[in-house]
Symmetry: C2
Subunit: 69 residues, 2 copies
């Protein structure tokens, strides 16, 4: 199990969390997601290490910006 | 054409606006909706005067609170 953590800017509510969850969950190998609009923290758990580029692209697709933290 | 205006609390973003738009648009007779997270203003246009109770219930269903203004 691998865990990657990101800091997301722009989330304001539960809908924003859902939008990010929807996009990130489509990445192959992702098995768990914790995301908080309050803290801006996104944690992605995966069987094998996940490609940061794919996660950042998924967050961007949802309409937000993230950096690896 | 009838216009009713409401003040909604709790909206933070475009997703919130969409959630309210989705619910209010289901009310029979509603022909147009303006909703702004920034101002909290919801304007409902309808062919005949719309029932305030139905609008307030739709906003509640979306997860927000509104009052007639």
């Amino acid at each position: 199990m691998s865990t990657s953590e990101y800091q997301v800017t722009g989330m304001t509510c539960g809908h924003c969390e859902m939008a990010i969850r929807d996009e990130v969950s489509r990445i192959p190998g992702v098995e768990g997601i914790d995301v908080s609009a309050q803290s801006g923290r996104l944690v992605v758990r995966s069987s094998a290490p996940v490609d940061d580029t794919a996660v950042l692209a998924a967050v961007d697709e949802a309409g937000y910006q993230a950096v690896r933290s």
